[in-house]
Each structure stands twice: as structure tokens, then as C-alpha cells.
Symmetry: C2
Subunit: 164 residues, 2 copies
């Protein structure tokens, strides 16, 4: 009888610890991904698959000449090909993604990577096929004008760029 009680207690308590561990890991992962919150679903006309954009600084008053945003790409989601007349800087903060300039091999991006994209360079950025990807983006020298969009990164282009 005592055996059974001890065994049952053992089962109950280890189950609680297992749930506790899982919950801690789950909460922390979510926190890491969401420093700034997901923002709004981005328009399909310039992104492929599901992307969330949180505008952190719009610079509507044109004081800083810089716009700042946080972008969450679901797996396989990416921007269309595009360029910025004033340049762009990306800071990868979570997950795995890619950056590719037209005509060059793609560069894999992980948390902590920085990409400085000079003005007029045609490129795309987005998530790896099997991983969410989060980056902060800065559009610099925005007085030069808005981004120019140049059509989707096709599945064929994306698969070739992200093949490992």
C-alpha cells in the first residue's frame, strides 16, 4: 500500500516538473521572438506568405530621416525583390533567415547578424523554409524616397537560394 502511494506521488510530481519545464521553455521562446509584438499583417502585394510588421518609428515629422520597424516572417515568408534609394540596415534578432542580392548567392542570417544594404541594391530578405525569422529594419535617408518593388521571389528562386 505504501509502495503504491510513493509510486503515485512520484508520478504526479515528475509530471508537474515536466509540465513546468515545458511551460518555462515555451514562455521564454515566445518572449525572445516578440521583443516588440507582432504588429500588423503585411500586404500580400510586396510579401510572399505571412509577414507581420510593427512600425516602431514612422518619422512622420521628418526629424530623424530614418524609419524603424520590426518584422516577423513565418517560415518560407519573404519580401518581393526591392531596393531602397536611401539604403536599409537589418538586425536579425530571432530564428533563421536569408538575405540575397540579385545575381549573388544568398547569405544565411541568424540572431545577432547585421546587414547593411546600400542604396539601389536589388535584394530580398525573409525566413528560412522551416524557421520563423525576426529582424529589426531601418530605412535610412528616407528623404531619398520610398522603396522600389520589383516582383515576387518565385518559389524556384527561393528554393535555389535556400538549398543547403
Amino acid at each position: 500500500m505504501l509502495n503504491k502511494t510513493v509510486a503515485r506521488n512520484f508520478l504526479v510530481i515528475t509530471t508537474i516538473f515536466l509540465i513546468s519545464c515545458t511551460t518555462h521553455k515555451g514562455e521564454t521562446t515566445m518572449d525572445t521572438n516578440l521583443i516588440f509584438g507582432k504588429g500588423n499583417k503585411a500586404p500580400g502585394a510586396i510579401f510572399t506568405n505571412t509577414v507581420w510588421v510593427n512600425m516602431l518609428h514612422t518619422d512622420e515629422e521628418k526629424v530623424f530621416d530614418t524609419q524603424v520597424y520590426d518584422v516577423v516572417f513565418e517560415p518560407a515568408a519573404r519580401t518581393y525583390w526591392h531596393s531602397h534609394p536611401g539604403g536599409q540596415i537589418l538586425l536579425a534578432t530571432s530564428g533563421s533567415g536569408y538575405y540575397q542580392e540579385k545575381g549573388k548567392p544568398a547569405r544565411k542570417l541568424e540572431k545577432g547578424d547585421v546587414v547593411a544594404i546600400p542604396p539601389e541594391v536589388v535584394h530580398w530578405h525573409g525566413a528560412a523554409p522551416q524557421s520563423e525569422f525576426v529582424h529589426i529594419g531601418m530605412s535610412t535617408k528616407v528623404h531619398e524616397g520610398p522603396a522600389a518593388w520589383a516582383g515576387p521571389v518565385t518559389d524556384e528562386q527561393y528554393n535555389e537560394a535556400t538549398a543547403e
Copy 2:
């Protein structure tokens, strides 16, 4: 005899789970604080207490007109009073800190907060007394010139600003 074996197994296995939980939490906390790595210890002439600065984009080639850096403030560490001729944007990513403009109450900062500091506004930023604080910083319109430094935030000023 069986009782003792079950009880001992119970003790060993719950201990393993406890250690496992603690380790997971520890690792994840460190990762969250260090998206970009700590960088270099910052000079004492413009900071009070220990601060680490990781330059993410220096813009030496003057292409983006923007410098980007990650700053880790140990508890009670802060910048001197200063201003930027081209402005500055801060993105709080971890811990608790403060931002104060000269002559105004301090604003408490937590993960996800954004501060846009217009040109020439005298201010300081740093950690809360009992918490590390990490922010990304952007110096915008750097062609306007470097920051102007105006002496330390005294312990009296800091204590008054951060009293809750």
C-alpha cells in the same frame, strides 16, 4: 526495501528535473540579453559605472548617415548628460532602464519600448538601480556631428530620477 528504492529514485529524478529547469531558464535569459554580444567596455569619461558597447554599424563610408550600436548597462550604470545634433532612437530589448530629458521626470523603459530623442535635447539613459538594461541605439543624421557631452548624472540626480 522496495520502498526505499522507489523513494531514492524519486529523489534522484526530481533533482534532475529541478537542475534541468534551472539550466533552461539560465541559458535562455543569457541568450535574451545577448542578441549581439557584449562588445567592449565603454570609456568612463562619458558613462558612470560599467557599460558595454557593441558597434553594429559604424558607417565609416558615410553611406547610410546612421550609426547603430547595442549597449549593455550593468545595474545603476548610465550615460553622462548629452545631446546629439542629428538625434537618436533607442530600442529597449532587455531588463529595466530609464530615459530622462533635462528638467523633466524620468521615463521608465522596459523591453519593447522605443524612445525618439530629437536633435539637441539634453538627456541621459541607463539601467535601473537593481536591473541590467540593454538597448539598441541609432544615431541618426550623423553628418550633423558627434554627441555633445555635459558631465555626469550625479548619484543624487540618479537616485531622485529612479525613486519609485
